[in-house]
């Protein structure tokens, strides 16, 4: 499998007025390639902050992150954008598809910000990703014409279209009915076969139970790191 990311002494501190908030208070973690991990914790436990930093959306106040063998903790905004468009995918609770774009254009969106994809290559890759999630029959639809489960599948296609190393799913089933929850979690689990590390960020125990490893967080620290 091999190591994907190694985190040591990660801290994130916000100053809000006179108060200093320690969102992350010293986190050490290792992630392997092709792992199915759930990060579990109540709101304010630091799980979102951890996802944002690991997903190159934010920078830590302190600590080191070795990602695919490179130190990435202190990267600038443009370099982090490069990682987001090449190595990371996000799936959100509220899908976050752009309403004005078609399903195909939504999925191709991450490739728009890469210079190594021509227009036809973007379209081709988006079609492959939609095929992968079983949505190739809806290419020209708008997101509003789809059901919640379908939208989340399109969102997953968007997350994997750039062949990332890691996909973060932030409460991916929060807006879905029971029938669709299992199908989406199954779909996310199936990405492991392609060597993608899947990180579920949730406060829902039953969702976390699907993962092979559960990291419980509380007050900005890892409380438990359990493989099941």
């Amino acid at each position: 499998m091999g190591s994907l990311a190694t985190i040591r002494g990660l801290r994130k501190t916000y100053v809000m007025g006179d108060e200093t908030v320690h969102a992350l208070a010293g986190v050490d973690l290792d992630f392997d390639r092709g792992e199915y991990v759930a990060i579990l914790g109540p709101s304010g436990s630091g799980k979102s902050t951890l996802m944002h930093i690991l997903g190159f959306m934010d920078t830590p106040t302190e600590g080191s992150i070795l990602f695919e063998g490179e130190e990435v903790a202190g990267l600038g905004a443009d370099r982090r954008a490069w990682y987001r468009s090449h190595r990371v995918g996000f799936v959100f609770q509220s899908f976050n598809l752009l309403p004005r774009l078609s399903v195909l254009e939504n999925v191709a969106l991450p490739l728009l910000y890469r210079e190594d994809y021509s227009e036809s290559a973007r379209e081709e890759a988006a079609k492959v990703a939609l095929e992968r999630v079983g949505m190739s029959h809806r290419l020209t639809h708008r997101p509003t014409q789809l059901s919640g489960g379908e939208r989340q599948r399109v969102a997953i296609a968007r997350a994997i279209v750039a062949r990332p190393a890691i996909v973060f799913a932030d409460e991916p089933t929060g807006n879905l009915d029971v029938r669709n929850v299992d199908r989406i979690l199954e779909l996310l689990g199936s990405l492991l076969a392609e060597g993608i590390t899947v990180v579920l960020v949730t406060h829902d125990l039953s969702v976390a139970a699907k993962a092979k490893r559960v990291i419980s967080m509380r007050s900005g620290q890892v409380q438990e790191d359990r493989r099941q």
Binding site: M57, F92, R100
Partner: protein, 430 residues
């Protein structure tokens, strides 16, 4: 090259956003539309007026012309009036002999506004006694197919011949009759028509024919095409009964010598007139200078108005862009989350502003064409000047580039705001 591809994609996206928000886009464009329309329309009309006036000055004999006219003596010299015999042919000879930079001297002896009669038709017009030098000074000519002008021999023999302005010929003779050789009567005397002056038309502009006449020119050119010209000696001997001239037209070799020539002419005339200032000297330069001032004032004030509308247009664009960004904070967050850099979003929103201003500018140009068309129409109805403004693609291009610059400047601030949004905050935005 990569940047070009990015810009292209951003521009395509910008026009798409416009299409998605048609009404809002049109509203945000309205300022730019008005700004460009007023700028281009006004500059075009002012330009038309300037061109019109240049031709007018030319028709008055151009910038090289000096006009000398008789003038009443100042009160304190009135008792000396008999010391001067006024403007006479002696002045003409003196100027010709002593001022070499004066190329032509054209004396005029006005007979007056008289009735012309020919085969039962009557026309009233100005009768002028002139010499052959009238043609170069007035910048006129007689087309070889239209006869000849008054010659030195006509002056010498005081012949009873006349040359007609083209509009007089039209009024006096039916279209199928050749005026040459016909005899007309003025104050009981008979004159043979020997030639027709060239018809003056405003070049490069439409000429509206007054009174429905095909030839003869219309409006402000009409007076230039009227009049009857007879030998100056005939005028003084047979009508006026004295040698006095009503005025002189002088042409200087070059407009640069104008002021020097005016000085020389004044000195010479004071000498021949026994130091009495019973004449006035004027040039077209003053008129041209006055007009230039008017032109500048027009350009400045109209430019100000157009500038303000473009400024307001820019604020309109900025306003709409800020509102649009506010509505699309989440979209910005999503785009950033999937890998867009700040510069990608900067380009995206700047392109939207540019798309609004380009489209607004183009619509503005179309509107300006309408405004100029209407103004021409109204001007024609109100004052048959016969002159209209013409479109100039340079002015239109300038108007368009102005609007693009305004759009880009107005788009910078919103685009910077979009580029600097924190993706995490943006994604949380409801």
């Amino acid at each position: 090259m990569r940047l070009l591809i990015r810009i292209r994609a951003a521009v395509v996206n910008g026009f798409r956003e416009l299409q998605a928000n048609k009404v809002r886009s049109l509203l945000s464009m309205s300022g730019i539309i008005l700004g460009v329309a007023s700028l281009v329309a006004m500059v075009t009309v002012v330009q038309g007026m300037v061109g019109n006036f240049r031709q007018f000055v030319d028709a008055m004999g151009g910038i090289e012309k000096i006009t000398v006219e008789k003038q009443a003596l100042p009160k304190e010299q009135e008792h000396l009036a008999e010391l001067s015999e006024g403007l006479t042919m002696r002045d003409v000879e003196q100027i010709k002999a002593t001022i070499p930079i004066v190329r032509y001297v054209s004396p005029e002896a006005r007979v007056g506004f008289e009735k012309l009669v020919c085969e039962g038709r009557e026309v009233y017009t100005m009768i002028n006694g002139v010499t052959p030098d009238y043609l170069p000074v007035a910048k006129r000519w007689v087309d070889p197919t239209q006869g000849r002008f008054i010659s030195d021999l006509d002056i010498l023999h005081k012949t009873d011949v006349c040359v007609l302005g083209s509009s007089i010929a039209n009024d006096l003779f039916p279209p199928n009759v050749d005026p040459l050789g016909k005899v007309i009567r003025v104050k009981g005397k008979r004159f043979t028509v020997i030639g027709l002056l060239n018809n003056i038309e405003a070049q490069g502009m439409e000429v509206r024919s007054a009174g429905g006449k095909g030839k003869g020119g219309g409006g402000m050119w009409r007076w230039r095409n009227s009049g009857v010209y007879i030998p100056i000696s005939t005028a003084t001997a047979k009508f006026n009964g004295n040698d006095r001239l009503s005025g002189l037209g002088l042409q200087v070799a070059s407009g640069d010598d104008l002021n020097f020539a005016v000085e020389q002419v004044e000195r010479t005339l004071l000498q021949t007139h026994n130091r009495l200032k019973d004449f006035s000297i004027s040039t077209n330069e003053q008129t041209l200078e006055d007009f230039r001032k008017t032109e500048t004032a027009f350009k400045l004030s109209l430019g100000g108005v157009a500038g303000i509308s473009l400024f307001v247009g820019g604020i309109g664009i900025m306003n709409v862009m800020l509102a649009s960004i506010n509505e699309r904070i989440r979209e910005i967050g999503v785009r950033k989350a999937v890998g867009a850099r700040g510069s990608d979003l900067f380009l995206q929103f700047l392109s939207e502003a540019a798309a609004i201003s380009v489209l607004g500018g183009l619509i503005g140009l179309a509107v300006s064409m309408g405004i100029v068309w209407i103004m021409n129409y109204v001007l024609m109805q109100a004052v048959p000047t016969g002159v209209v403004a013409k479109f100039d693609w340079v002015i239109m291009l300038q108007g368009l580039s102005f609007s693009v610059v305004v759009g880009l400047v107005a788009g910078v601030y919103p685009a910077v705001r979009a580029a600097n949004l924190d993706p995490i905050e943006a994604l949380r935005h409801e």
